[in-house]
Symmetry: C2
DNA sequence: TAATTTTGCAACCATATGGTTTCTTTTTTA
DNA sequence: TAAAAAAGAAACCATATGGTTGCAAAATTA
């Protein structure tokens, strides 16, 4: 049973440029237009527009049109999906213990 | 300043098949060989081998060769990178408040 | 109204990605 | 020792991805 929504958000945050756009918007005290965002990146406005569309599709960015501009706002709520996924495994790294460690310890004890 | 290690782990978990392989190994009480893993998926052993290599490269899977087999263990520790990234934004979805919400509220108050 | 600004749309391109198949090597088992 | 099993290596393929450029449309400004 594939979780398309989950897949999409994992994909959305996999790209470093998209994470940077998102981060910029979280830090910004005001909303930023497409051009204002694009100005901070070494690539074309169109490339940024595509990234913004992907972020918007998964709900990480809200867009409010105003005149000829479109103002972008970060919305971190969808990250809860990632949060829930990753927290499931927390106990493992917290313990600093995993199956391999146990295996190697057991192996040493037996001396083979 | 690009964080290559971070980029790689985000990329590694972006693929649903890789997340499933990883999850299978976390749940497994014992280590699993490549073939044992591949048997659970509708694709070829070689495809699975490639996924395992990517997971191994970022440290999410440890591999212990034993005879002609290679046993795989999940190691969730590298997920701390994802955890740290996502936790930065937690306060936002916890608040159920974001810039857009504030903007719209403000807008309503002013009645324009 | 004419020029400028902001954006969208569409075509295009190179490379990355996720998959396949075939063959070889190494190890185990019969 | 011969056959079978596990895995790696390499070539190949279709599509996805991240980028580009050029042009059109809508809104704003001079």
């Amino acid at each position: 049973m594939p979780n398309k929504k989950r897949d999409n958000i994992f994909r959305a945050i996999a790209d470093p440029t998209r994470r940077e756009i998102f981060h910029m918007l979280v830090l910004a005290s005001a909303a930023l237009s497409i051009n204002e965002i694009a100005d901070h990146f070494p690539m074309s406005r169109q490339a940024i527009t595509k990234h913004i569309k992907i972020l918007n599709d998964v709900g990480l960015i809200d867009i409010v049109p105003k005149g000829r501009e479109r103002y972008c706002y970060a919305d971190p709520k969808p990250l809860k999906e990632i949060h829930d996924w990753v927290m499931y495994y927390e106990k493992f790294w917290e313990n600093k213990l995993n199956l391999l460690d146990s295996y190697l310890k057991e192996k040493n004890k037996k001396g083979n």
